[in-house]
């Protein structure tokens, strides 16, 4: 029987052993990409002001204020500036998510196409990054720290007891229908499921429900919580302790799609649920 101190001591020794990592190859790749990677400015004005003298700075602010006053007065009087207001239209086509690298995403409309069996698009606000993506699972998460996000998934089976998986996956495997998956997910051992409601996403009927757990992963037989198994890769999905999920399951052209939004209700992102819900509301199937 070991103690926490034994483990900490052994861990420190193991972590600090020399493994001869050499970043030269990575650095070469980075330096090759720097010339083609524009820097993001925090603020155009702030950046420019560093290089302006006092008079120029004053003049720039004065012109800006004057312009705002003129436009404001015109709007207040109901003036028709430059003819009728055009209806806002997207200036660009949705960005293909599978062509983008893992990392930060600009706000806008994104399309999931070749990497996933269900084609769909959704609107993303600022502050999200692309996670991994393959034929079973495409993830978008908050940029930092990763405490909430949305996943598009194709699941084939579940672990009825996600904390004690030595019992194995459901056998026989769950059936192929939306109801089969909903029933399996709402009866997971150690999870509390909210009522299942009928909703519509992108014009497609779906079942929606909340899942929560208060499982301490340290009590699990493999040290973590994994609820379901992906259809193609056979990989298993991890779920965090105290994580709250809002899950939507639907049939889209014969594919059983699961959309999972997740966040930590007691964490610093309690208001993340509303932001994630807006992303779900913006989904269109293509």
């Amino acid at each position: 029987m070991s103690t926490d101190n034994d483990v900490a001591r052994a861990l420190r020794s193991w972590l600090t052993e020399n493994r001869h990592e050499d970043a030269d190859r990575v650095l070469d790749l980075v330096f090759d990409q720097v010339p083609a990677t524009p820097q993001r400015r925090a603020s155009w004005l702030a950046q420019r002001f560093d290089e302006m003298n006092g008079f120029t700075r004053f003049a720039t602010v004065a012109v800006g204020v004057l312009a705002i006053v003129i436009v404001g007065l015109a709007l207040a009087k109901g003036a028709n500036i430059g003819g009728p207001s055009p209806t806002p239209v997207p200036t660009t086509a949705p960005a293909r998510l599978d062509t983008l690298p893992v990392g930060d995403l600009a706000p806008g409309t994104y399309e999931i196409d070749a990497i996933f069996p269900v084609r769909l698009s959704f609107a993303l606000p600022a502050g999200f990054s692309r996670g991994g993506g393959d034929s079973d699972d495409v993830g978008i998460h908050a940029s930092a720290p990763v405490q909430h996000g949305i996943e598009f998934q194709i699941a084939s089976n579940v672990f009825p007891d996600p904390c004690h998986r030595s019992g194995g996956a459901a056998s026989p495997p769950i059936g192929p229908s939306v109801d089969d998956l909903v029933t399996a997910m709402t009866t997971l051992v150690g999870f509390e499921a909210g009522p299942v409601t009928d909703v519509t996403i992108g014009g497609t009927p779906a079942k929606a429900f909340d899942l929560t757990n208060a499982i301490d992963p340290a009590t699990c037989d493999q040290g973590d919580i994994r609820a379901f198994i992906f259809a193609g890769t056979g990989a298993q999905s991890s779920i965090g302790s105290g994580q709250r999920e809002r899950i939507y399951v639907m049939d889209v052209a014969g594919k059983r799609l699961m959309i999972m939004t997740y966040y930590f209700a007691n964490g610093p992102y309690a208001d993340a649920a509303a932001s994630l819900e807006k992303i779900v509301e913006s989904i269109h199937f293509l």
């Binding site: 972590l15 990575v26 330096f31 720097v34 820097q39 990763v146 990989a235 610093p268």
Partner: protein, 182 residues
């Protein structure tokens, strides 16, 4: 960290950024390798983090906080790569074998392989705090700053991470295990 270099890199001086990146590269790769357990994913995370540093440096308000800020970007890249790695990880699990137990499984000597297996079973969040604390020697306050979470959360994660490792090591030591690929 030379704040003058940071300021020059913020203004788009690529030579200054090169100096910063060379100073960070090996350390970033070592940290991400330990967190992710896979050198290819670690290289991708390091590359992503260094490019993010270049791209977002102008947004850093206080150059003196460059180091903590850079760790935050590395952590973010590790999360992204860790998620990708999870999907591609081989599906292995430990199965007990019906063999007589060894003479003594109660001593506190921890085998290196057991340690590695237990560490790999931890969640990414738990691996992160352990590497930042035990490898980089960051204090819980510094880790909280890098991860942008309350310091109490870090203390809790460190506690549960060590406990999970201990549980896994003890469980691993009890029956003789063998790894079975499914």
């Amino acid at each position: 960290m030379d704040t003058d270099l940071v300021k020059r890199a913020q203004r788009g001086d690529s030579e200054a950024f090169t100096s910063l990146a060379v100073g960070l590269g090996d350390r970033f790769l070592a940290v991400s390798h330990r967190i992710l357990g896979d050198i290819s994913l670690a290289e991708d995370a390091t590359q992503q983090a260094l490019l993010s540093i270049w791209r977002d440096l102008p947004k850093l308000r206080d150059p003196a906080r460059f180091e903590a800020w850079s760790y935050r970007l590395l952590v973010r890249a590790c999360y992204a790569e860790g998620h990708r790695g999870r999907l591609w990880a081989p599906n292995l699990r430990l199965l007990p074998v019906d063999e007589p137990m060894g003479a003594d499984h109660t001593d506190s000597v921890i085998d290196r392989d057991q340690l590695e297996r237990a560490f790999r079973r931890l969640t990414l969040k738990h691996r992160l705090v352990l590497v930042l604390h035990h490898y980089l020697d960051l204090s819980p306050d510094e880790i909280a700053d890098a991860l942008d979470v309350p310091v109490g959360t870090i203390a809790s994660r460190m506690h549960y991470a060590l406990r999970a490792m201990r549980t896994a090591i003890d469980a691993d030591a009890a029956p003789t295990p063998r790894e079975v690929a499914r």
